[in-house]
Symmetry: none
Subunit: 233 residues, 2 copies
DNA sequence: AAGTGGTCTAGACCACGCG
DNA sequence: GCGTGGTCTAGACCACTTT
């Protein structure tokens, strides 16, 4: 997959068409099924598309306008899902305590009756400008040692560096709401200025639900790019 | 896949856990590979998640979020992307004319200097309730015959039924804005009630950019579910 | 050690598009 | 008719979790 992607970017398929799957399987010395798995990922990323009976083609738009497609579902979490290019990020810890997991959170994180979670409220800033209020719930059994110092930085980075665990997926619901008084105060909004809300669960690479998060985002900073493809139901 | 989805929605897996893949393959009399393909789609849709060594679990958030109108990663287009379970949809044509494509639209739709596009403004309703203002630009050369009658219904369906072309992908940017006076009037919003904006391009299955669209959605009807996974590059 | 998902294989047969 | 992608099979072996 990596090799084919490279070749596409380096224009090594001048006819905008890939070799057929059976040839690719021979070229790379792998089974056709494996070729299919690889190509299906590229389809998902919008890089190629397949036409039954005709072949597999490179999406010209991907080459012409790579910037447009570059989210590629490959950015996740706060640290890089917002366009922070070179801007200075800040985190202000608003509140932080350990509480018993509510019924709802138990359900979302697959916890038991007597499991505890951190409740973490943070204000995120970019270039001194507050742009997001984040409320997160993390099971203490996943991160038994979480200090305020760590919470001033990216929890995801901490997880990866200190624990070798990666946050690889999230299931988020995006909605829109008028701002409430807390939003207005913390995010410096007027009464008629709204927030975007991203709420959901983050998962570790092994599938463990890791955090329930609710993010209220200043509307000017709320921007979400998505490449949608039709599913066959 | 359909059967399992049904069972999930009808809470027929009370432990939030599916049978293991080998059992499913026996239950349905299919190979384990086929079970995997089916489950992988449900994973992609954020309905379930898998934990190697443990099993396959239902995403509790998915059940919670089965609210009214959803725009899912797996569905596209207006007609079926919003889950309109039994509700009556309406379309009101606000405005409709042919204009030269602006520079920006030329770029987005890969048009030439002197190409023309339809500019189509429509108000969408659900159960008599207006919920979205839609402004679309479509090249006349793709749909030379577009009548107001067609515009009262789904353009995507028309494309598929009359022209045999399918809209299979879109690239959308989601943002949040305070409502303007036009929004307030058409969508029956108060001054401090916002709209969600979905703007982007729709593509045909052969990769042709087909429509530039801007959708302003009543905030109560704006709900976007997304399952993000980190790409392995 | 047993159970569960992850990856991969080598092939069969089907459905679609095109010459 | 032939070449192409689509679907499916029946298994092998690996990696991780739980008992």
């Amino acid at each position: 997959m990596r090799d084919i992607k490279e070749k596409i970017l380096h224009h090594e398929y001048p006819k905008m068409k890939l070799p057929d799957e059976r040839s690719l399987s021979e070229i790379y010395g792998i089974s056709r099924s494996s070729v299919k798995r690889a190509l299906d990922v590229l389809v998902q990323q919008g890089i190629i598309f397949k036409k039954r009976g005709s072949g597999t083609f490179i999406n010209p738009l991907y080459l012409k306008n790579r910037a447009m497609f570059r989210y590629e579902g490959s950015n996740l979490g706060i640290t890089d899902s917002f366009r922070l290019d070179g801007k200075k990020q800040g985190i202000q810890l608003l509140n932080y305590r350990v509480i018993p997991a509510s019924k709802e959170i138990q359900q979302d994180l697959f916890l038991n009756e007597n499991d505890y979670v951190y409740k973490i409220e943070r204000l995120r800033l970019i270039d001194e400008q507050p742009f997001m209020i984040e409320t997160g719930y993390i099971p203490i059994k996943i991160l038994p040692s979480l200090s305020p110092a760590v919470l001033q930085k990216s929890i995801f980075n901490y997880l990866e560096n200190a624990k070798g665990k990666q946050v690889t997926r999230s299931y988020l619901t995006l909605t829109v709401e008028p701002s409430n008084t807390a939003d207005q105060k913390l995010l410096k909004l007027n009464e008629n200025e709204p927030v975007g809300v991203m709420a959901g669960v983050f998962f570790l690479d092994d599938g463990t639900p890791f955090e329930v998060s609710n993010m209220r985002v200043h509307y000017k900073y709320m921007r979400f790019n998505t490449f949608v493809s039709v599913g066959r139901d």
